[in-house]
Symmetry: C2
Subunit: 364 residues, 2 copies
């Protein structure tokens, strides 16, 4: 029996194409004896809806829960714009996050030196940028109840969503942020709207309390709207930013876009360590979406997907050295001037998904 | 009796300094016979708390409601960081918005040509930028109930905020956006998180319905997280963006920051037209805050405040020509190379608040 099990959910659009490159990488690390992964694949999003009429089957959720790590591509596309709400492709993602209880979403926003020019920001503002957004992923307005649309008659409806946070949820995500800050720049910004939201008041209170256990980490409070502004103005002032599910959704996208490296950015979503085994449930996915407009053309950028696999090596399996080798291989092919279409540059060679995957593998 | 009444609420920090420049402008337009404004001033935010122990008194709220337009500076500062939650400076703003029922917040994000270089974005991406964010201002998670923190015992608390939208609230803000788009680029982006929020589902449904009444305006749906990204990537793709209170808070700040002209940007908040008189309650304020760090030094930039007054001339009093004259005067002093410290530039002359105000007045 293999030592570690991976459950692959390529999803829709370019998800399936970029996952192929990860599968090749896994085959290689296994063949080299560097890893001993068993893999199994399932369907998520539109692909699952087409096959089974749901965004993900109970069987596949069970497999995701049983696996040591889930590697996820991307879901969604215009084809499924009109499926019933509870079966829309995103529902797969939300269900998996909740059932795996992967509350800590780590979204590094790194500016690859070779790509600084691709940012819409001035080069000097983003060169060397390395921010880590720590987003709470299983609470807040994404999951709070009530979450309803009520018909009031006379053509009027009322829609309600509920933002709920309890102390323990804020406490545990704050600890993840502080622990990570210790391994990096030693600075945490906590973003909320405590001037308007009660959940923001509690958020700030709990984060400040946790901060007392980390006297070596500098803690700064920032309002979420100001955080969005400051990310655009002087992003390098940030090291780790911890925030709730909804603000994290937006702020991590802003941070990702700043880098000019959107097609390059991975993410990891981690659960609490098991009290007995110490293992965390874990879910890895690129920050970008399913890009239906370029799907099926063999031109998608597989780097974020491969970097997500590298995060799995690092966070789920403690294979720091191998993770770093993969990340260095990515940097190396970029330095060699290889680019997929999304990051095409003058004086660089534009290649397809397969060729990029192969080039990274060759560097290893 | 004067024809029109203005209620001035300078607030805190630089609010008081920049309001002085507007008062000079009003004195001048009155003296020239261009306007016939009566003015009265009140206290808001920390200033009101220090004087009366509340963020704004009932008397001042009543005066704001009775006036033809409210001109607001900015509130807040570290001095009031620890006042009771219901009396924090922001409470004045929230109470005024709600009681005046100024549901339509217009936030133009314009890049002044003279300042394109001040943007953190590359010049070509922001030069000529002219976006109008139309933010719903009296609903959503800002005001929805329940909004509570409950003690659960054992050191645990639960915080709840409620996002509520009804059809009529979305309908009326959408109409404002479509009406304005007709006078501009003819394009509306509606931003929500309908993939996660029921309020987003209703938002999109209602906006699309209203859109049928405006076949001449192009309507695009965009997810709020993607909107934040696209604002950073290629802001000029947008004309009018309509969105809810919370997303509007963040997205309008991003848009404002892009322009490099933050200290220059005004905003208008409008109510529904009175069924009899057709008059709208209206509230004008700069997009920037009270900047406690530079308050009292006479160096604050009064342009956003003066431009907010120009918006009042335009939207509350139909004085389009005079509004344009004020706006042109602002552009002219910038072209002359006059700058306050926040927008200081090589080869330009840095001046203080008073000198900037006087220079704009001189152009008139
Ligand atoms: C697809 C969507 C449900 C999701 C989210 O809102 O969390 C996505 O935007 C993300 O950030 O992973
Ligand atoms: C001060 C604060 C309550 C306010 C808001 O959140 O609406 C501010 O950020 C704004 O955008 O006007």
């Amino acid at each position: 029996m293999a030592t570690h099990s991976l459950f692959l959910l390529p999803g829709d659009g370019i998800g399936t194409e970029i996952m192929v490159e990860v599968e090749k990488l896994i085959a290689w690390t296994n063949a080299e004896g560097l890893t001993d992964f068993s893999t199994e694949s399932g369907l998520a999003g539109g692909a699952a809806y087409d096959a089974h009429g749901v965004a993900i089957t109970d069987e596949d959720v069970a497999k995701a829960k049983a696996a040591d790590a889930v590697i996820f591509g991307a879901v969604g596309g215009p084809k499924w714009d009109n499926v019933p709400y509870e079966h829309r492709p995103e529902a797969a993602l939300l269900r998996l996050r909740k059932e795996l209880a992967v509350f800590a979403n780590l979204r590094p926003a790194i500016c690859y030196p070779a790509l600084a020019e691709a940012s819409s920001l001035k080069r000097e503002l983003v060169e060397g940028l390395d921010i880590l957004i720590v987003r709470e992923l299983t609470g807040g307005v994404y999951f709070g109840e009530p979450k309803t649309i009520t018909d009031l008659g006379d053509g009027q409806k009322r829609a309600v969503d509920t933002q709920v946070y309890e102390t323990y949820e804020i406490d545990r995500i704050a600890r993840v942020a502080f622990d990570l800050a210790r391994t990096r720049g030693g600075k945490v910004h906590s973003a909320d709207k405590k001037n308007v939201m009660k959940s923001g008041v509690l958020w700030d209170e709990v984060v400040k309390g946790v901060g007392k256990d980390y006297p070596d980490v500098a803690l700064h409070h920032i309002l979420a709207d100001n955080a969005a502004m400051q990310l655009v103005r002087t992003p390098k002032q940030f090291d780790v930013m911890v925030t709730d599910n909804l603000f994290g959704d937006i702020l991590s996208d802003v941070a990702a876009m700043l880098t000019g490296s959107l097609g390059m950015l991975p993410s990891a979503s981690l659960g609490a360590p098991d009290p007995v085994t110490g293992k965390r449930k874990a879910f890895y996915e690129p920050v970008h979406g399913s890009a239906p407009d370029i799907a099926g053309k063999g031109i998608a950028n597989p780097i974020a997907m491969i970097a997500s696999f590298a995060m799995a090596l690092r966070y789920s399996f403690g294979m720091i050295e191998l993770a770093t080798r993969v990340e260095d291989a990515i940097s190396a092919v970029l330095s060699d001037g290889l680019r997929t279409g999304d990051i095409a540059q003058a004086n660089c060679k534009t290649v397809g998904t397969e060729e990029m995957g192969a080039a990274i593998l060759a560097k290893l």
